[in-house]
Assembly symmetry: C2
């Protein structure tokens, strides 16, 4: 039983580090290809291998997973899997430095989903939610679970958020509004709110209304009219910016997100959070924040594949809503649910229906291989449908 | 960029599995010793290595970490680090089967701490908390954060919970009580509530008062007068049993716990939880539940070391409160804070003060090596104190 102190996990980590060393530090694409080549060495995990075989374009995930730097950081932190919060990797301080705010402005959470939950618990116990419809529906589900009232403001004809109507709805219900929600870019449409529009919102509503600006898809935007709303936090405006490591950093399964907000809002929100971030992703998060090269690569390959796929769809006569995210919506010109079912039969998982957009299919941008499988299935399904329609 | 579908992470996992294979499946003690021997291969992680050098007896953690089976399950699940909840490992169903309840009676959480948070959010928004003092103070902190009132019932002279007084406090405040809390065994004392006492409580209070029974230390109990309260959940009594994988399974840093409760309570609690369990520990949890051999080993070595250490302390004239957990409290017969500081200087982290027990030191049971370091430091500190007292 006698063991050197603090050493038992470290030995173990040595083995892992060795294995990772074998994968090496070659350029990313090559490294990923090599991993793919040695896939045959892996034993089966169980029935979930069936799931692995699908093209997974349903949940706006990053199909590449965490980068090597992030994976290594998490592996090294495996030695803390039996320890509560310490040592803590300095993630809060790193985020504060990265965004030019103080640590008191940062609230960590187990995914930005938890930030949305915390906002509901903090601001909607006796308050109304105002937001676009459709937008990220998990927020609305949670608000409904807490029996909060919701004012849903329909999108414009071009699927952008109706900024004047959001301002009007907030002003008309001012005494009751607990929270105004802006998802930017919006999920499920992929459309952004410009920096001028964010300014309009903040100038157009009473200053004490908390505004939750969900920037989960921030890193995929490539449009000069857009800007992050973090500067408003620095100004002390009642703005909560939600961010996640799930998308650009490929850590959805590891659960890490955060809010940036003025001190008074963080203090109100903190009691409603769990602070339950696992030891691995505390380290993975720091590594991800620094790995700007991987972020740039994921952004580029995602935008390239999104552009390529939407062009191919347009050539077939199917228009997509212009997107600034790692997903897009294509207009099928027919009810979406039967098409979703057909895709599943062909091994391709695509987004669920997002009413009232009942003829638009949301497609997450997967790998090149997954997008090829998507296009093959799309053509099959639409050709069969066209043939049936003729009969 | 072209990659086989679903393969990129699998190749990687193959490498890890290989590394783990090298560690092998020898009996546990040997395997741990081998890991300790190869510790020299590990590179530095950063300033947190200073923390590694401490004997860590402050947080009631499991010093051995997750077992090999659990570690391997988590490594294999690393391929899901970029995926939301799917595939989900069937953890809820496994827990239901294990405890003889239905899946609808299981609420997963990111540690049992989140279960405590959820109970506060669910039951204490307009309700009073009744519980022993001292008990697990994170619950009281959270309740205070939500501005809930708390009725604290002092422990008896033998440090057991005062069951008649808890019943009286609940009955006297019946209309206001949102939750009655029983930590069993209690933290920080380690003393248990017998099965007869639990029955007294449930028979002694109005049936609609939710009772949270925190069984975080359940697996370390070796006393025939004790029993889990899970059967009350099956009966449909308004009992919430909280459990964790942090202690017996060594997964504190991975954040996994759960509640077992009747359907009506789970439904009330669910909206206040995040459901934010990371992909790795969903698999680690299933493996841990099945690894009863490791649980038995951890229980045995912990009880043996607790017994050995408290006997050595008694031989020096320092009595401990009888404990049924992976920690104990020793009566220093002097204020505890200066002694805690002395321990830290000697590289041993021990528990913080738990007022009003201001002369009792809480010591978590670490490895044999850590307990030896604790005893050496204890003798030094107490000898120096005795010498100073004489002068």
């Amino acid at each position: 039983m006698a063991m050197s102190r603090g050493m038992s996990r470290r030995g173990f980590v040595g083995g892992v580090a060795g294995a990772l060393g074998a994968i090496g530090l070659t350029p990313r694409a090559e490294a990923w290809a090599r991993r793919a080549r040695i896939a045959g060495e892996v034993g089966a995990l169980g029935p979930e291998d069936d799931y692995d075989a699908f093209a997974k374009l349903a949940n706006n995930e990053n199909p590449y997973g965490p980068s090597e730097a992030v994976t290594k950081a998490m592996m090294r932190a495996m030695k803390y899997s039996n320890r509560y919060g310490y040592p803590d990797s300095g993630l809060t301080e790193e985020l504060a430095k990265h965004h030019g705010v103080k640590p008191e402005n940062v609230l960590l959470a187990a995914g930005s989903g938890e930030i949305l939950d915390i906002c509901c618990s903090t601001f909607l116990r006796d308050g109304l939610l105002v937001g676009a419809d459709p937008s990220y529906n998990i927020l609305y589900s949670h608000a409904t679970g807490l029996k909060a009232d919701i004012v849903r403001v329909p999108l414009l004809a071009d699927f952008r958020q109706d900024i004047p109507a959001l301002i009007r709805a907030t002003r008309m219900n001012y005494r009751d509004v607990g929270l105004l929600y802006l998802c930017n870019p919006n999920n499920p449409t992929g459309r952004l709110v410009t920096k001028d529009e964010v300014r309009q919102v903040l100038d157009g509503i009473p200053e004490d209304v908390p505004v939750l600006i969900d920037e989960a898809y921030h890193h995929f935007v490539d449009d000069a009219s857009y800007a992050t709303s973090v500067p408003y936090v620095v100004e002390g405006r009642q703005v909560i910016v939600a961010r996640t490591f799930s998308k650009i950093s490929g850590l959805a399964g590891m659960r890490l997100g955060y809010a940036l907000a003025p001190r008074n809002l963080v203090q109100r929100m903190r009691p409603w959070g769990t602070g339950s971030i696992n030891a691995l992703v505390r380290y993975g998060g720091v590594a991800a924040l620094r790995d700007t090269e991987s972020q740039a690569w994921v952004k580029k390959v995602t935008i390239d594949l999104r552009t390529k796929t939407t062009r191919e769809l347009a050539a077939l006569g199917y228009e997509s809503i212009p997107s600034d995210a790692n997903f897009f919506m294509v207009n099928l010109k027919r009810p979406v649910q039967p098409v979703i079912d057909e895709f599943k039969k062909k091994g391709v998982l695509v987004g669920r229906p997002f009413p009232p957009l009942n003829e638009h299919l949301r497609v997450s941008v997967g790998t090149a291989d997954e997008m090829t499988r998507f296009m093959v299935a799309f053509k099959d399904i639409m050709r069969a449908k066209a043939a049936n329609d003729k009969e």
